[in-house]
């Protein structure tokens, strides 16, 4: 019974909560800028409105352009089944699901970038090139983190890997966990195209990464993309927060409440980073990503010691 409740809560959170993170980030940034800002629920309104709008398709595009957002969203949603939230196991968990989790995002990326190239626009080609290049540098960092977590938890399943991180591990292996966390935070920001890697709100196509890839999408397709991006932030955020705050309240409801709280805290943290930092120059981005890889590699080294 508890398992079924957990699964239902898990699915509800995955479906309902992601846009809220965007709202919290927006509100935090507004506070920093001294504005009132859009309401917390604005991203929900945006997505719903997009699903009610008509579409414009470029004459250059083919079926792939239409399929891209769908496949990406489906891959992200499948990844959502594999990751535990807070102290609760994921609906699907098996040995090696961590590898699948990473690769499902790869599948999504493949289709997003291919859909971008389908338009024949050089801006979108530019965005696609940046996306695939930067993500292939972020990938090793993620896998170093997985090695560390596999070592800590003696498991290859995300559910065990992430729920077994505890305060004891933090006390025993604090330095390693700290390095791991800083590497993961960089990966989180870069994979979700947040500042300092990409500015979701910039007005200039030349400087964008993710937003420029989806310039030509409109209506429901763009809704799918926005929603998928929010979900990806939510999932990688959950990965990060499971490591960062391994707090166990002892009761199921308490754990869920703590998880929701920690996700909002993460959104605030992302908002703060976006408010106090400028976007990096494009040539600096690979360096920061390599640094993230080296940080996670250090954390692996310390845990092996």
């Amino acid at each position: 019974m508890a398992a079924i409740v957990d699964m239902v809560v898990h699915l509800l959170l995955v479906i309902l909560m992601p846009p809220l993170l965007l709202g919290v980030i927006g509100k935090t940034k507004a506070l920093f800028a001294g504005r009132v800002g859009a309401p917390f629920l604005q991203p929900y309104h945006d997505i719903i409105r997009l699903f009610r709008k008509g579409s414009v398709f470029s004459r250059t595009t083919t079926w792939l352009f239409r399929a891209g957002p769908v496949v990406t969203l489906a891959a992200t949603a499948t990844a959502a089944l594999l990751i535990p939230f807070g102290n609760h196991e994921a609906p699907v968990s098996f040995a090696g699901d961590a590898i699948l989790f990473a690769y499902l995002f790869g599948l999504g990326r493949f289709f997003t970038t291919v859909a971008a190239l389908d338009t024949g626009s050089s801006f979108e080609g530019m965005g696609a090139a940046r996306e695939v290049t930067f993500s292939c540098l972020a990938e090793p960092a993620l896998f170093f983190a997985l090695v560390t977590l596999a070592r800590v938890s003696d498991s290859l399943s995300l559910s065990t890997m992430l729920t077994r991180v505890s305060a004891d591990i933090w006390i025993g292996e604090g330095a390693s966990m700290l390095l791991l966390l800083s590497g993961l935070f960089i990966v989180l920001l870069s994979e979700n195209c947040r500042i300092p890697f990409d500015d979701p709100n910039t007005h200039l196509e030349l400087t964008m990464i993710h937003e420029v890839m989806v310039l030509d999408h409109s209506g429901p397709a763009f809704g799918c993309i926005l929603y998928g991006a929010a979900m990806k932030l939510f999932l990688l955020g959950a990965f990060f927060m499971n490591v960062a705050l391994p707090f166990k309240s002892g009761s199921a409801a308490g754990d869920w409440a703590f998880f929701i709280f920690s996700m909002i805290a993460l959104a605030v943290a992302v908002g703060v980073v976006e408010s106090v930092m400028a976007r990096l120059r494009l040539v600096r981005i690979p360096q920061l990503l390599v640094a993230a890889t080296v940080l996670t590699a250090f954390s692996m080294l310390l845990i092996l010691r």
Partner: protein, 665 residues
């Protein structure tokens, strides 16, 4: 099984008959110059039938793992002519027959005898000969017989490669190939001479019969040169990109999908002659495999020529296979049987998978080269409108080769990741875990390379007039691609049958009887993967249906691509392949060393100018001269480590610490 019911008298005879038929399939065509195309059709029919027979026999041998020997009493000085099939050779026979059948059918439309009266008969003949020599090579259990088949394979490969020998580039590629393959053969001569010295006969020793004594390492190194050169392992890969790029596409499919694996087979066969391989063999294979994996795909990402890109990505895939073999050998040497089984099964599974998606991509590249009239990616574009089927098949191949779920490329890489990561859980110094991030990096660059290859060739608007007038291929070209694409999807969603075949071959070479707890199926929940695929496909379908109903219910308009306000865009303004890979090539400029010609732009109204970018064959073009100038430069070597890049410095610290950790007990 089917063999016991008496339909097939003996699998080895069956395999020999199939290979013999294929060898002679092109023979009639040599004498039928009066009616062009007839010989080719006869050859295709014979090859397809023989391939089906051979496939059935090979799969049958693997399903009930056993060895069959067939001794030809041949009174020759080099000993009895022994032909045998065991699970290891049976596994490698599968791609031989599959791709031979597919390729000969494909040739009917790709290189029709009617239009190529001069070249077609020889091409068909050598295609059959190459396939058959590979089959005999896998069956041979005598050093001299093996070397004969090896040479026939190498030479017929050369004849196929220089089909268009009137072009300088092709002749150059042919010469490089010939030199490289014979350098490798020298290694094999040393290997078999040593083997004969050790055993007193040219007949192969049984598995695990030799002591890894003093001469063993010489044999290993000789095998590494011979088989490594054939499989395109770095640093022996120099011949590969130009050879595979300049051969006709169905030949490239056979060379890349199958012939490279002959080196892998030879390596495995040699390694397990010994009772226990030495640990440093495994480490050396891992180092070379790792270098091939990363550098191979880095080279691929920089290519402009679609077939060169595919060829370089073969180096990567061979690297991945050798990573699995190296890890498996190391695990065997250190007595970790379950890990050894998992690594070898992963390597063999990846080898099988590669022989599905790489030929698919090469066959697809042949179709687009026909349509666009060029191999240059930057002169294609928009082909998916004119070639919808080829486009779909090429997409399947691209997703599969990136190792993305749910296609078959993922299954092999998953096994390898799993073994590397499971090492991290328990081993005292889990250095093998380092391979997981390495594989992830290569996977990421593979996505970049194949998004580029697919996107630039098939999507967007046509960049040239010729590309705009391209046409879809005829059915003999489409059918083999459809078959391979279907297999890629099938064995991606349901990899169990291939895993079983690979595991059965891997288990047969290990020096231990396989315990059920070691089996892949009992360690990796493959059925969960299939369940997740069902979810993924279901999710795609559900989201797709909702989305398309939504779109249909709402107004839809067509317009031009948003050009950020620019009013007169032309197809030439699209992002090209060279621009797509520019950042990545810049990051790895040390390896790729692209030669660029950047025009100077002067004045407010600059003249028309030209930008040219070409990746170099670094080792080939820079390998020999730098070796000479190295002596001069060696004193300034220290300077190069001091360049002021913080993150590289951090890497130095990490590497040093890691090495210290291994060395200092």
């Amino acid at each position: 099984m089917i063999f016991d019911s008496g339909i097939f008298p003996d699998p080895v005879i069956c395999l020999c008959a199939a290979a013999g038929t294929i060898a002679l399939s092109g023979f009639p065509g040599l004498f039928l110059s009066r009616s062009p195309g007839t010989g080719q059709r006869v050859a295709a029919l014979l090859s397809v039938l023989a391939s089906l027979t051979g496939l059935a026999a090979a799969v049958g041998l693997l399903l009930v793992p056993r060895s069959e020997t067939w001794l030809l009493d041949w009174n020759l000085p080099f000993g009895p002519c022994e032909l045998a099939a065991d699970p290891l050779s049976a596994l490698f026979l599968i791609p031989v027959f599959l791709i031979c059948g597919c390729g000969s059918l494909y040739a009917l439309a790709y290189w029709p005898g009617e239009a190529n009266r001069r070249t077609e008969p020889a091409l068909t003949f050598f295609f059959g000969l190459l396939s058959a020599s590979m089959a005999f090579l896998l069956l041979a259990r005598n050093g001299v017989l093996f070397l004969s088949a090896w040479e026939i394979m190498a030479i017929s490969g050369w004849f196929l490669l220089v089909t268009e020998h009137r072009e300088t580039e092709v002749r150059k590629a042919g010469i490089v190939y010939l030199v490289a393959t014979h350098t490798g053969t020298v290694g094999l001569f040393i290997l078999f001479a040593q083997l004969r010295a050790a055993t007193g006969t040219f007949v192969f020793p049984p598995l695990h019969s030799l002591d890894p004594a003093a001469g063993a390492s010489v044999m290993f190194l000789a095998a590494l040169i011979g088989f490594g050169a054939k499989s395109g392992l770095m640093p022996f890969h120099i011949w590969l990109p130009s050879a595979h790029a300049n051969a006709p596409s169905h030949v490239s499919a056979l060379l890349s999908g199958v012939m490279l694996k002959m080196g892998v087979y030879g390596m495995l066969r040699t390694l397990f002659f010994f009772r226990a391989p030495l640990p440093w063999w495994g480490i050396l294979l891992l180092v070379l495999g790792g270098a091939s994996t990363v550098l191979g795909i880095v080279f691929a990402s920089a290519q402009r020529d679609v077939k060169r890109l595919l060829a370089c990505s073969s180096i990567e895939n061979i690297g991945i296979i050798y990573l699995g073999i190296g890890a498996g050998v190391y695990a065997t040497a250190t007595g970790n049987a379950p890990l050894a089984l998992l690594c070898l099964a992963g390597a063999l599974l990846h080898a099988l998978n590669h022989s599905l998606f790489k030929p698919l991509l090469f066959l697809g590249s042949g179709a687009i080269i026909h349509a666009a009239g060029t191999r240059e990616l930057d002169r294609m574009g928009g082909l998916s409108r004119r070639l919808p089927w080829t486009s779909a098949f090429f997409l399947v191949g691209s997703v599969a080769i990136c190792g993305l779920p749910p296609l078959n490329g993922f299954a092999g890489e998953f096994l390898l990741y799993f073994s590397f990561l499971s090492e991290a859980r328990s081993a005292p110094v889990p250095w093998m875990a380092l391979l997981a991030p390495l594989l992830a990096l290569a996977g990421g660059i593979a996505v970049a390379s194949f998004v580029k290859a697919y996107g630039v060739a098939f999507l967007g608007a046509p960049r040239t007039q010729k590309a705009a007038r391209g046409h879809e291929s005829k059915w003999p070209m489409l059918a083999p691609m459809a078959l391979l694409a279907f297999l890629c999807i099938l064995f991606g969603v349901y990899p169990q049958p291939l895993v079983r075949l690979a595991e059965s071959a891997a288990g047969s070479v290990l020096p231990w009887p396989i315990v059920p707890e070691w089996r892949v199926a009992s360690r990796i929940p493959l059925e969960f993967l299939t369940g997740v695929w069902a979810f993924l496909l279901g999710g795609c379908l559900l989201a797709g249906i909702l989305y398309f109903r939504r779109i249909r219910a709402l107004p839809v308009a067509a317009s031009e691509t948003w050009g950020c306000g620019y009013l007169a865009p032309t197809p030439r303004m699209q992002y090209t392949g060279a621009s797509f890979s520019e950042i990545l090539t810049g990051l790895f400029a040390g390896a790729v060393r692209p030669s660029e010609n950047v025009p100077a732009i002067e004045g407010p109204t600059p003249h028309a100018s030209h930008y040219r970018f070409s990746p170099t064959e670094s080792l080939l073009e820079r390998g020999i001269l730098p070796a000479l100038s190295w002596v001069a430069g060696s004193f300034s070597l220290l300077r190069r480590f001091q360049h002021g890049q913080m993150n590289v410095y951090m890497l130095y610290i990490f590497v040093t610490l890691f090495l210290l950790m291994i060395w200092v007990p």
